[in-house]
């Protein structure tokens, strides 16, 4: 990616973020109620999108070759286990990442 393309990519991300943050203040007020479909998407979309992002992070997993994505799968398991145990976001991310960094050096 060239430098202008990089700047454009970052610009698009900034623009999209600001669209999502400013839109409700521009579109709605206490007088103009939010459409039911929009409210429904607000409830239903996040779970689906977070699932997509997990898949996105693991999109290049070499399941059928090399180490079969074992470090990634074990590290994800480790992250989930620590999170279920302690329910602390920072701890889970920290230990999960550390586990992965160790695993790729061992496996």
């Amino acid at each position: 990616m060239s430098i202008p393309e990089r700047i454009l990519t970052i610009g698009i991300c900034a623009l999209a973020t600001m669209l999502t943050r400013f839109a409700p203040f521009l579109l709605f007020s206490e007088k103009r109620k939010t459409p039911a479909y929009v409210e429904y998407l607000g409830e239903a979309l996040p779970g689906a999108i977070f699932a997509m992002l997990v898949v996105y992070c693991l999109r290049s997993l070499p399941l059928l070759s090399g180490n079969h994505g074992l470090p990634e799968l074990l590290a994800v398991g480790c992250t989930v286990a620590i999170h279920l145990w302690k329910r602390s976001t920072l701890l889970s991310i920290g230990f999960g990442t550390a586990a992965y960094m160790i695993l790729i050096r061992l496996l």
């Binding site: 996040p46 898949v55 989930v80 889970s92």
Partner: protein, 233 residues
Amino acid sequence: MKEIRKKALLAALPRTVPVLTGFLFLGLAYGVYMQSMGFSFLYPLCMSIAIFGGSLEFVTVSLLMSRFAPLQTLLMALMIQARHFFYGLAMLDKYKGTGKKKAYLIYGLCDETFSLNCSAEPPEDVDRGWYYFFVTLLDQSYWVTGATLGGILGSLLPLNTEGLDFVLTAMFVVIFLEHWLKAEKHITHLLGAGVSVLCLLLFGADSFLIPTMLGIHLLLTAFRGRIERRRAE
């Protein structure tokens, strides 16, 4: 005027301390990660100011590493950030009458600032507008500081950062898991996971995002009645 601002700053500061630790840690990881991918500290500095949304900033790094794809970037960014739209809806009333500060309050409405400003009221003798303003400003300054420091330190320290990019995966696994644990019904989580894996198999790692996002929207819209009934049960 000066008194009002000082009072608001002093009221906001202690309440943002939990965000301070979180943002410094994650910001540092983000800065070091960008540096390890070959980006100067100017990237995390500019991105943490311009985008100011942690998860999207992490994803932007992988977007910057792949082929230039403006449409996919736009859709991806809109989907990841869509939740901010609903933060805005919740803050319509609270941010009313905050004057010129309002534009900055909206611009800086990230997850953590939203949860602080939405959940807790400022003390009674403190100006609401300035209190919200300082919570927003402090939170953003923690994030920008962490990200920039990470970008600088990453290049100074002789760290072997191979595998640090897993921080992105770990973050989304935790966000997803937390969302799963708090939800009563998991139909939308499963639907999202199913569509993503199916599209990944069909379209491949480089081009599965757009069909996935379209698929998720289509299915959520098509099964709206059923999903809403399930939720109501």
